[in-house]
Symmetry: C2
Subunit: 418 residues, 2 copies
Amino acid sequence: MTTVVQKFGGTSVGDVTKIKRVAEKIKRKMDEGKKVVTVVSAMGKSTDKLVELANDITDNPDPREMDMLLTTGEQVTISLVVMALKEIGVDAVSLTGWQAGIKTEDVHQDARITDIDPVNVQEHLDEGKAVLVAGFQGVSENGDITTLGRGGSDTTAVALAAALKAQSCSIFTDVTGVFTADPRYVKKARKLDSISYDEMLELANLGAGVLHPRAVEFAKNHQVTLIVRSSMEEVKGTTVEEEATMEQNLIVRGLAFEDKLTKITIERLPNQYDTMSTLFSLLANQGINVDVIIQQVTSDHGLNVSCTINTSDLGKAIDALHDNKPTLCYSTIRHESSLAKVSIVGSGMVSNPGVAADMFKVLGKEEIEVKMVSTSEIAVSTVVPDGDMVRAAEALHAFFGLDDNEKEKINKVKEAAL
Amino acid sequence: MTTVVQKFGGTSVGDVTKIKRVAEKIKRKMDEGKKVVTVVSAMGKSTDKLVELANDITDNPDPREMDMLLTTGEQVTISLVVMALKEIGVDAVSLTGWQAGIKTEDVHQDARITDIDPVNVQEHLDEGKAVLVAGFQGVSENGDITTLGRGGSDTTAVALAAALKAQSCSIFTDVTGVFTADPRYVKKARKLDSISYDEMLELANLGAGVLHPRAVEFAKNHQVTLIVRSSMEEVKGTTVEEEATMEQNLIVRGLAFEDKLTKITIERLPNQYDTMSTLFSLLANQGINVDVIIQQVTSDHGLNVSCTINTSDLGKAIDALHDNKPTLCYSTIRHESSLAKVSIVGSGMVSNPGVAADMFKVLGKEEIEVKMVSTSEIAVSTVVPDGDMVRAAEALHAFFGLDDNEKEKINKVKEAAL
């Protein structure tokens, strides 16, 4: 008898009607003869309400106590889903993170899973019960309740699937799968039947919000087959697995993009071994997420360093840099806002050195200015004016053959671009 | 350094403002140099909201899952109180039932505490922290979350006080202490400075809702000094301890009363050894609480049995009796509603055989019909028409010298009554 793990996010369990629908889905899966473990998030806006309560008390809530507070959200959902299952005649049991044996680091609000002891879950499965596990939460070695940070329920599901050697881990969400680009922006975006872990990881890291990167990484490391699918529609989703078997011929598998970025340039830093580490440690300590980084040696052997940050962090970044001017010894700071990042992702790139060049040609043809570039094994990212983001994405989507069922068009577009 | 335990109920932590007030109270107690453990209930109406969610899903929620659901309420409160404490500079930590080592039977919704392992609580106290413990909840031997049933947070507080050998256990509530009678009905009711465990137990069992009987029993068994006091006003409360040191001269320490009772009489049952057990097991299995019981042998050696039940249970009781008529072999059922129970309580009664007689005289003088009587070592209860309840209580309150500062009147009332 095979075991499957499935995860339903907050919108999928947003109210009592939806909770009953999830129970029906679990029943159907069990009727197929599967052992079913289901991970759920907190109901819809319930986490926001709890955060609001905390904010009414303090501007600076204690992380341990935030975990204590927020983990109640998932605990409510698991109990309600089990009640709904029992109501339709399915024996079921709910387990909090600690009851499900989910051990984490002793870190609050963003703990990593260190180990899973699935004995309790397995026993209940062997007794024929549907097992509901509270997502996003675990317990540290000293018995404190911890949370896994953003996307934590995905990670809970993947980790349980690995520990239980499950056949697959289905992530039910409000989209029907992983798309070649965000369909809200790129009209011709297409759902992928399959994608590799690495490609998914790049897309996830680049801001395609379907799956959390940590969950994808965990799935890759433990070879868990992930399936991203809709909780509302009964349609085939996207399978994330070691080798994407379909569409192997495509060099670029998908696009990711995000706006509201600012490029910040720190000029004439001393050209020393520790300059970069001092600078970026400083920003990291302020909780500022730094993305694309460019380093340039000036004619008089100083260093110019540029990086992108979220525009919302700009004030904080400038304050931190000003406060540390004596240590950093730079001359000036410049910044440019209203920027966006557009990235192409595909494992086929490794063996296709011309992909970056193709990308620049497409953007050049569209007269879109490329402000910064960064590359990885399977992705190329460009920073462009944010007003050009969607146009850039659409042009790249068409050029790299990702448009919806319009293969014959592709060559024409290519010809025109080059 | 002495340890004190205090408990705040749902209304005392009903909103953010009240939670901050509780934090201030804890701080003041710590500033006195005490180690402070605080047990809190769920915020105001939050439990009702959770129950409503469950009822939207099923008419018959699973008890284990109800415990899973409802225990989130106290978990929310403990985290918020700790945040409020940290905001005013007090180091603090929150602990759920299982984290505080509160072990219970493997029963849901009404578990009894079997053991407390206070190591975790003690460690945090020794580190100088305020410790917040979620009331009403514990963990069974097999790791399930359980709840202690009604009044459970009182029991949590008392049990922790016993395990920690605390100096006292203060129960903060919305009244200023234990009264000689419910002051909402008896205008001359007076707050008691002290009362014995047994007297408190009788009052609690007789429906004076300040403290849950199980908590009082636990306090008596472990000799925990209980203090019932107001969470709103800074006034002296009522101390519950082994020997009530004050007011020893009073034979009757307090009155309790409740209305909405029905007397039900089952006529001509067979006079056999197992008749009573069969009858009352049947009612108990339906969840019907039976109070005053009278058994009478008829002239032809049959049995007439009368008892009081809550009027809300009448339909259920009659159905159960009808369904089991072949087994019970009675002839008819009669019932009389609109009744009330009025009880006098005092440990001095044991050595004063005339107290019951005095009670009947007072009620006779008031022309109040006594329908049923039951007695214990330290209480006498009478069932009267509910329209006469308050009048009976006031007359008894005056006669037994409980009226507020009117000692000179007492003798006159006594003379008039006898």
